[in-house]
Symmetry: C2
Subunit: 330 residues, 2 copies
């Protein structure tokens, strides 16, 4: 087994976020899935955009956001994801490279355009996401650079991408490549609806020992296990993965690694502005510690601090100096 060239290589949706604040009535009038992530088609995205107030564009995508945090924290990263050859594709590629992350997946010519996520942020800071996957759903297994995947200590996969068929195949192949190179596979469940649709896949992967680090939130854990009680659900999954990390929003987070368990409170935030990216940055903070073999509790603390930073402003990627923030608070 050769020395890995990267700490983390991620496969995820390549998406530009379109962010606008809105009042609670708008969420009701548009019949949005408050606090959730809903897939929309192109006409659906156009309809919602028309109903949206003046907006701001920022690069997003769950795993890409996590890498942006990881890169800030000194972790060597590469990203694999599909953009189209258009302005949003250039924005995404620019922002991820400018964050110090290697990104070489070729742009895809023609329709559909680069994926976009229309994010409505209510006064309580909750984000309601509506994603048009666009080019992202056509990430082909052939686009995978297998030598790249084999060169990362951790392969990080985004559950959202498990839904469309081509990326799912690509990710299955990526897992094989990573495992046969002796690398670790980390997986974030992303959203309950993904587990509702592909729960058997995930349970198979877990049961077959294909996942080394699993990130879930409370409702994803409940969907995965069918067990509504958090503690019981956690105890069901923990023995099956070398490392299980469960985030619980304001209730903090819990992790288990080989029977060693740790938990952390949520980091206080003066005012929650926009919860977009909270889970992504928690994963970034956690993995930045995990990649350096830090104790489980420190990994969780890093996650909590990174999550607190990102929900204190609009947008899914860190804006403060995460490295300094963690050095100060850890």
């Amino acid at each position: 087994m050769t020395e890995p060239r990267y700490d983390v290589i991620a496969i995820g949706n390549a998406i530009v976020d379109i962010i606008a604040s809105c009042d609670d009535e708008t969420i009701e009038e548009l019949e949005l899935n408050r606090g959730g992530m809903t897939l929309v088609d192109a006409p659906g995205a156009d309809r919602l955009y028309e109903a949206m107030g003046p907006a701001t564009e920022k690069s997003g995508g769950s795993a890409a956001n996590t890498l942006a945090g990881l890169s800030q924290l000194g972790t060597q990263c590469a990203f694999i994801g599909q953009v189209a050859d258009d302005q949003f594709g250039k924005v995404f590629a620019h922002d991820i490279r400018a964050a110090g992350i290697d990104f070489d997946t070729p742009m895809r010519a023609g329709d559909p355009p680069t994926g976009r996520c229309l994010i409505f942020v209510t006064p309580d800071g909750e984000r309601t996401m509506n994603t048009f996957l666009g080019a992202g759903q056509y990430l082909p297994a052939t686009a995978l650079d297998e030598s790249l995947i084999a060169s990362g200590a951790i392969l990080y996969l985004e559950g959202y991408l498990w839904d469309p068929e081509e990326p799912r195949k690509a990710m299955r192949r990526a897992i094989e490549v990573a495992r046969s190179a002796g690398r670790k596979v980390a997986f974030t469940a992303s959203e309950s609806f993904v587990i509702e649709r592909h729960g058997d896949d995930f349970r198979d992967l877990i049961d077959n020992g294909m996942i080394d680090i699993l990130f879930v939130n409370e409702s994803e854990l409940a969907t995965l296990t069918g067990e509504p009680d958090f503690e019981k659900g956690f105890d069901m999954v923990a023995p099956k993965v070398p490392c299980l990390v469960a985030t619980r929003s304001a209730k903090g987070a819990v992790a288990d690694a080989g029977g060693v368990r740790a938990s952390v409170a949520a980091e206080p935030v003066a005012k929650v502005i926009d919860t977009t990216g909270a889970g992504d940055q928690f994963a970034a903070g956690f993995l930045s510690g995990f990649a350096k073999d830090e104790p489980l509790e420190k990994c969780l603390r890093r996650g909590a601090i990174a999550a607190a930073e990102v929900i204190s402003h609009y947008g899914p990627r860190p804006e403060a100096d995460l490295q300094a923030l963690i050095a100060q608070k850890l």
Copy 2:
């Protein structure tokens, strides 16, 4: 003379801002014109974008920013400007319409793309702008809806657009249309380089009584008059326009209307984050009062409050409730 349907109709550049913070060294290394606005060609824009950190996209364009502020302040507005039929064009059109402004200039097919402005913001909050005008420079006189222009109480023109040939012709025609409909013409000088190149044009317009409201900053006034002393320069121009408004950054602003003079201090700001849009929002605040025949000093105060809001966050358009802010502070 029929009753105007709009309070303000503006012709300006249709631009998407790409905003990133940077350190002072970056400004030097890239040899940027610190604090200024520099026109760049497509390869120049690509070169600068590559050197830029992770960025945020927000609709911009000087006159369009002013309308966004005016619309928030209850003023009926329409915008004329040229975007291309691309993603940034859709972003611009969405944001201006979502701000309650009528915008019906048809998108332009093919190259060049929609204009964009690469904005580097240094730790002192100063913005250094590098603009690729793109489709904006091809706004043709034929695209003007003359009945629309005749239906606005005030026609507001952006000096930046005086530089490219086609929009300059379009603006000359717009001034004729507005004046023969008995409307007022407001003009913002935009930037000293525009006056350096087209000063004779501007002086002719002013001398021929074609401009009713003129917005300048200190350096633009000096370039226009050739007089480095602010007071002397102001006294030279004031008798030639029914209303002259001169902004002086931290030193506040002065206005003269028919010999009546008023001045205002700059509104205090806890921390200057990004000065982009300061002049644009000053004009918005001022015109919102002017359109309602408010006393000159109140118009200036409105301008100062609107400018203070926009420099306290990233981006060139208001994010707080300007109406409430002015009601509270005026």
